[in-house]
């Protein structure tokens, strides 16, 4: 297939020119292990061999800590004190990620955890979207194609997690890597620009000082996230719906 040919081409090209770079390998052998599984050439499409996911350890998540939310705001340019949604009421402002405080009604046990798009394998938002704007990438990242979004908000009705937001006014000062604008629906994109750049992390996972958020390839047995999922009991929010979410929780 053309895909593998392209890889070969790049590789050959690399061999031809890469003597200087090869030196770098020996200089820093330890770095090589990091990100080796998920990195992908820029001209290659996302592959279904990979499924991006996230594990949130609620035992490590502090009540009242909002670092992941703030980091997402800074990274993707929504909300916060200098929100570019200047006219919208608080109920109308977009929220890609939010902290939810839980209290078990029968036992009084309290917990705190972030909720965002759960990047379902069978996303209801994708099923209901009339124009295919709501979409799932081959590697499991659920996105809104704003070029096709007509702003009907049916995905917001269908999402069990309230993960989607609608932009109620004209925006300026968007981040270059995170376009967003009036009349379209948006949500957590799993920092897809970072994943595609091979960083293997999201803004929220980096920001968490307790290390409560792990990002990785669920399909790669050797990845940290797959190991954790294998060795610990984890939960999906509203698992009864059978959506097979890409975001999993530990400790709820």
């Amino acid at each position: 297939m053309s895909e593998s040919n392209q890889t070969d081409l790049t590789r050959r090209q690399f061999v031809g020119k890469g003597a200087a770079a090869a030196a770098a390998v020996t200089v820093a052998p330890g770095v090589l292990l990091y990100g080796a599984a998920e990195a992908r050439n820029l001209d290659q499409p996302a592959s279904s061999d990979v499924r991006w996911g996230m594990l949130i350890d609620t035992n490590k998540c502090d009540k009242g800590c909002n670092d992941c939310v703030t980091a997402c705001q800074t990274e993707n340019g929504w909300g916060g004190e200098n929100s570019n949604e200047k006219n919208s009421s608080p109920e109308q402002k977009a929220q890609w990620i939010r902290k939810v405080e839980l209290k078990d009604i029968s036992t009084g046990h309290t917990q705190s955890l972030p909720v965002m798009c759960q990047h379902c394998e069978n996303p209801p938002c994708v099923d209901v979207c009339p124009t295919t704007a709501s979409m799932k990438r081959a590697d499991g990242v659920v996105l809104v194609d704003r070029h096709l979004c007509i702003g009907c908000r049916f995905c917001m009705m269908a999402c069990p997690y309230k993960a989607r937001s609608f932009v109620h006014e004209s925006l300026t000062d968007q981040k270059a890597h995170a376009p967003r604008g009036k009349g379209c629906v948006e949500s957590c994109n799993l920092c897809v620009h970072k994943l595609d750049a091979g960083e293997g992390v999201t803004a929220c996972s980096v920001s968490c000082t307790k290390g409560a958020i792990t990002v990785g390839d669920l399909n790669d047995e050797k990845s940290e996230i797959a190991q954790q999922l294998k060795n610990h009991k984890t939960t999906q929010i509203r698992a009864d719906l059978g959506l097979n979410t890409g975001v999993r929780y530990r400790g709820i």
């Binding site: 790049t10 590789r11 090209q13 690399f14 061999v15 020119k17 890469g18 200087a20 770079a21 090869a22 030196a23 770098a24 390998v25 820093a28 770095v31 090589l32 990091y34 990100g35 080796a36 998920e38 990195a39 992908r40 050439n41 820029l42 001209d43 290659q44 499409p45 996302a46 979409m135 990438r137 081959a138 590697d139 996105l143 194609d145 704003r146 070029h147 004209s170 925006l171 300026t172 000062d173 968007q174 981040k175 270059a176 890597h177 376009p179 967003r180 604008g181 009036k182 009349g183 379209c184 897809v192 595609d196 750049a197 091979g198 960083e199 293997g200």
Partner: protein
């Protein structure tokens, strides 16, 4: 009598046009700010003037829906060359490269309802560059600025194959 009058009418109209039009264009033409980096666009200028939207549209589908992140025809890269970065003082005076022309020809420009009109500031980009990326970047040639992890991965594969 009639054909003569018609001819006269045409003539005077043509005269009027030749007198008015060049001046009009010279005065009302859009301000096109010079590119900040580089001298040559990703295709010939004439080609880009006519068909930039097709390149952009094709790329946007591949980039967003399939995750192909090449930079050649990405809108973000257009801005990198044609528009000063955020926080640059001069940016307000000349207007914006894309908007200037679109306003002049009266074609609705939808991109910037959502996309940023300016690139991120330089220092923010520099902070993201991994030191190891630089030699590998050069080695890879046509792909500029890949993240370090990609380069490292490629290096690792090569090393394994060599052994």
């Amino acid at each position: 009598m009639k054909p003569v009058r018609k001819l006269l009418g045409l003539l005077s109209a043509a005269l009027l046009l030749t007198m008015l039009v060049p001046n009009a264009i010279a005065e009302v033409g859009p301000i096109i700010p010079k590119a900040i980096k580089g001298k040559q666009c990703v295709e010939d200028t004439s080609e880009m003037r006519r068909n930039h939207m097709d390149y952009l549209k094709k790329h946007r589908v591949e980039a967003l829906r399939h995750g192909v992140r090449t930079k050649q025809y990405s809108l973000k890269e257009c801005l990198e060359c044609h528009v000063p970065a955020k926080g640059t003082e001069t940016s307000a005076e000349n207007g914006q490269f894309c908007k200037n022309c679109h306003v002049f020809v009266g074609v609705k420009l939808d991109c910037f309802d959502c996309h940023a009109t300016q690139p991120e500031p330089l220092d923010a980009k520099a902070a993201k560059l991994h030191p190891f990326a630089t030699p590998a970047m050069k080695a890879l040639g046509r792909i500029d600025q890949p993240h370090s992890a990609i380069v490292m991965n490629r290096l690792a594969t090569e090393k394994r194959e060599a052994e």
